[in-house]
Each structure stands twice: as structure tokens, then as C-alpha cells.
Amino acid sequence: MSEPRTLAGKVWDQHAVPSPLQEEARIAALGGERGAAQGERPDLLYIDLHLVHEVTSAQAFEGLRMAGRSVRRPDLTLATVDHNVPTIGRDQPNPDPVSATQIATLQQNAKEFGVPLFDIFDIRQGIVHIIGPEQGYTQPGMTIVCGDSHTSTHGAFGSLAFGIGTSEVEHVLATQTLRQVRPKMMSVEVTGELGPGVTAKDVILAIIHEIGVHGGIGHIIEYRGPVIQALSMEGRMTVCNMSIEAGARAGLIAPDETTFAYMEDRPQVPAGERWERALDRWSRLATDDGAAFDTEVTVDGSQIVPYVTWGTNPSQSVRVTDRVPDPQGMPTETEREATRRALEYMDLAAGTPIREIRIDRVFLGSCTNGRIEDLRSAARVVSGKHVAEGVRAMVVPGSGLVKQQAEREGLDAVFTRAGFEWRDAGCSMCLGMNPDILLPGERSASTSNRNFEGRQGPGGRTHLVSPEMAAAAAVAGHFVDVREVMSWSR
């Protein structure tokens, strides 16, 4: 019997490239001596899928060009435009010439290096972490990288997926590999059962609150337990998406019947006998009984309620029924000071009930919560109601296909009748880069992933919530406990 292994450990082992040929050559070149770093090299990890977008790739392609290198496997590489595209008026010339150049540069690089591109008018265009699963490119047991920290989203399928910087993007383009130190393994088990109105977003906010924004550094998190198993694929993607917000290198979930049901018949998923063989392969990926984790955390799912962030990092959150915390209650001086600074930036007084915080803007979208199920959930909350006076609310579907599906279901009409703007697919107001930004001092209820200072625009104030909570806040004009405004049939 071999040693019991974790899901992530298995995927890692299957992708660590053995290097007997090079080692032999190296030792021969050194006159038979073992080199200085011999035996100490991190693994060379083979990458199955490399996702590319306009913001972190231009310098990488330029690096290839300067060195006279090509893309080793354009057939394992897929590009799209998402971070820096406008979400309205796409038939007009881009008003920002610098952005226009960045987008044109990706178009040119894709053509020059033979990389497939879902361009701006392709119905399949969208947020890079939405389109991979949507097309079926994301499959269990794969290694997936992208020059974007939310690449961990793909871990929902039991793939090992993580964000990389631009130099590493260039490295993967040139070699289809990355030299990587094997991370530690963390188990996060969510026990019990979620109550009505409590979502995957609340689960991950509760986890980040529990382990902190640095708790996952150097780790891959495997999310386990009955609450995780009961989540839909959309919900699992929301959870894995925010692994980086706990500092983790990646987050993943063992593939199961829910995974396979979501995948079946998607364009890039194998069919027929190949599907059967794939199921057999994928079913063997789950963590073996008795496999060891370096760190283990348990969260009681039945205690999770809707969460709202009050501060300037994603661990600074409380239950919607609670109040803004008092810095004096924090355990260390560093934390007291960080809390004071966060409250000052957020213009919040300690002790304020969360439900009394008024908002100016609502953003429904992003790689965290821009999938069809998120739009359906939010639409149920706003159906027949209207956005509160003084609130500007927008829905930005995660892809062209999510938008098309939502329109087939009439969700666009539900949202527009309720006073929401209905836009084209992209990262939009998640990151304060494209034209969709908060103005200084504006406060948002946002379904995105980061509430850092200025994240949604300089001086903007972000509260992270679930799609249902964002929708309910849009209608009320302030945060409300969505469980009180909705009757949930189970």
C-alpha cells in the first residue's frame, strides 16, 4: 500500500516532471560532481491549462519576443479580455487610449503567438475564471494557472489552480512548466448544515474571519465536510475563489456527482467512452482516508449567518445582526491600530449596527459571484421591488453566455424593472481599473472579493456580501438581514 495522499498531493505528484535526462547531463558537465543546488530543486510542475488576460500578459509576451522564444503549447493556452474592458458602449471606440492599447496588444500577441482568444465581441468572452468552467476547459485533476490571484476558483472542480505573476506567465508560455516549492496542506472542514438564506459567500467569509487573511500562507486549502458537499458548483467556485483572501496558494474541493453533473455536455468535456474513462480517473482523486494535513480547521456551518465586511480586508467582517467592532476590543496593539485605521477609512463609528449602514452603490458580479446562479438568487430578492432612492445598482454578468442565459430566463427584465443597470461581461467594479468605479466617499455593497482601501476606486468604501444580501441592500438602501425580507422555501 502506498502512503495515503491528499487530493492536492495527488494532482501535484501527477504533474511533477521527472528530470533524469537533465540531471545526467548536468552531473556529466560538472565532471561527475553533484552541483550546488543538486537535490534541492523545487519540483518542475507541468501546467495543463494557462489562462491569459490583457492586464498581466503584455510584458510576458514582450519578454518572449526579446528573447526570441515562442509559446510552447498554444493549444493549452486560452486568452480573453476581462479586467480592462468597458461594460457598456462597446460598439463605440474605447474612450481610454491607454486601455485601448492594452486590449489591442493582447489581440496582436494572441495572433502572433497562435494563442486562442475569446475577444470582446465573442459570446464566450467573459471573466477568465468564469469562462474556463463554463466551456468545460476546467476539469478535475488538472493544473491551471493564470496571471490573476483568483485562479483558485477552478479548484472547485478538484483541479490545482493558482495565480502567478507576469514573469511566471512568461515562464509558462515558454516552458509550459513552473518551478514550485510544494505547499503545505490545510483541511478546512465545514460541518453541519447551512440555514435558509445563508450562502457560499457567507461560508467563505466566515472561514476567512476564522483563519485570518494570513492564515493560509504557504498552504493549499482543501474544503471538506457536509456543507461543502451540499454546495452547488457555483457555490463551490465562490468558496475556492476567495482562498487567496485567506492567504492560501490555492483552494480545492474533491470532485463528486455534483461536479460531474455540472460538467457533462459542456463543449470541451469528453463524451461517450472518453467521458466514462474520465469519470473513472476523476473518481480516484479524492483525498485518501488517513491522509495527513499540515493544518486542520473546523468551522460549524450551522452557526454561519449572512456576513458583512466592515473593514479594509476580507477578514474584517461580522454577522449582519452585529455591530461595527470597537478597536479597544482587539487583542493586540497592531490590531487595535489596524482597526482604528480601517474604521477611519470606512467612516464608521464603533458600535454602529450593521443594518444601519446606508449604501450608495450596489455591484452584482465578479469572478466571485457573477455566475448564473448568483444572478438568479439576487433576482429572486429584487423581483417586484425597486432599488431605493439615491442608490445606483448594477448587474455585470460574468460572461457573454451568462448574460445570454439570464436574458433567456428574463432576469434582465427583473433587474431593469427594479432599477438596476444591466451590463456587458467583465471584471467591472471589482477592481477599480476600468470605467466602473466608486467615487471618493461612496459606499458599496459588493459581491466581489476585496474590500481593500480604494479597491473599487480611490476613496471608495466597499462592504463584501452575498448576492442575496447585496440585492436586499439595494432595495432597502442600507444593509438588512436577507433572512428577514425573504421567505425561503427549502
Partner: protein, 199 residues
């Protein structure tokens, strides 16, 4: 890449935990397609506040920045490293670094040195009280010391990264030496196990 051996210089005390890459370089400055020119926008929002430490001219010319836990958290943008280099900073000392940021620093030849809380406390206080005092970081001996030699600590670094930094080797070139092994791996693996993007 140029070899990295020692960094000697003044140190800026940035006494905040969880400094994220949106603070280091806001997204609105990521539209450009070059690798340089980000220094003027580094810590843009915080530099708008007159009492922010980077605005204190006593730290002009500093080559080292000291901070707290989880420095560089958030986005994978390597522009954050390019912005820090644009400030003239060649080494960072903190309790811990975010993983992707740390990898990006390595790629750019910026040293990331992790020390215990009490050591950070000491260096932070020293940089505040004696802003002109210099630190010396020596990669070969894995040490960070005060220039007067009164205080010194050893730091850990992955041996492979150290090997590459000391020699200034091209990361991609090093991996391309393994090309025959990568090709053998591609030929041996199950062709069905992953999808192709060319359709």
C-alpha cells in the same frame, strides 16, 4: 537578471500589517504595457497623506523597507514589485509575505526577508529613532545586520532561489535546460487527461 549579493542602505519603517498590492500599486495604473515607470504611483493614496512615512525626506535614498505580517497580500500583479523597485527599494523585511508577491519579488531580484516579531519590533523602532542608520543584508551568509555590527540575525531562503539570485541566472533559460525531460513527460502522459484550446 543582475546577480544579487548584498543590499546596504537606510530602511523605511512601514508599520502596518497586511499591506496589500492595491496599496502598493492601484489597478488604474496597470493599464500600461511596460515593465517600468510605476515608481511615481507606488503607495499613491497613502503618499497623498503628508505624514506618511515615505514622504519623510529623512528616508530619501533608502534601499530597504520594513513592514509587518502578510506584506504584498491580494492581487498577483507583478507591477507591485516593479513599483517598489521604482522607489529604489531592493529588499523587504517583514514578519511574512503573501505567496504570489514573494514569488514575484524573487523574479525581479527583490529580497524578501522574514524575521520574527521581536526582530521586526527592534528594526522598526531603530528605523524610526535612527533613520540615518543603515542595515546590511548579505545573501551568501543569509544575514541581516546593523551597519555598526551591533545586531545581526540569520534569515532563511529556499536554496534554489538563493543559488539563482547569487548568480543572476535566467529562470526560463534554466528550465529550458530540462526541455528533453518535459518533452518526454508530454509524450508519456495520458493524452485524454486534459483538453486542448485549439478547436
Amino acid at each position: 537578471m543582475e546577480p544579487v549579493r548584498t543590499v546596504r542602505g537606510k530602511a523605511i519603517p512601514l508599520d502596518r500589517p497586511n499591506v496589500d498590492t492595491d496599496q502598493i500599486i492601484p489597478a488604474k495604473h496597470l493599464k500600461r504595457i511596460e515593465r517600468s515607470g510605476y515608481g511615481p504611483f507606488a503607495f499613491e493614496a497613502w503618499r497623498a497623506q503628508p505624514d506618511f512615512v515615505l514622504n519623510n525626506p529623512v528616508y530619501d535614498g533608502a534601499r530597504i523597507l520594513i513592514s509587518r505580517q502578510n506584506f504584498g497580500s491580494g492581487s498577483s500583479r507583478e507591477h507591485a514589485v516593479w513599483a517598489i523597485q521604482g522607489l529604489g527599494i531592493d529588499a523587504l523585511i517583514a514578519t511574512s509575505f503573501a505567496d504570489i508577491f514573494k514569488g514575484n519579488c524573487f523574479q525581479g531580484g527583490v529580497l524578501t526577508i522574514e524575521l520574527a516579531d521581536e526582530d521586526i519590533d527592534y528594526l522598526m523602532a531603530r528605523a524610526e529613532e535612527l533613520p540615518e542608520s543603515e542595515l546590511v543584508i548579505d545573501l551568501e551568509s543569509q544575514s541581516v545586520s546593523t551597519a555598526d555590527g551591533s545586531w545581526s540575525r540569520r534569515f532563511e531562503i529556499d536554496p534554489f532561489r538563493k543559488y539563482r539570485l547569487l548568480r543572476g541566472l535566467d529562470d526560463i533559460g534554466m528550465t529550458l535546460a530540462y526541455e528533453r525531460d518535459v518533452t518526454a513527460f508530454e509524450e508519456e502522459r495520458d493524452d485524454e487527461a486534459y483538453p486542448r484550446t485549439h478547436t
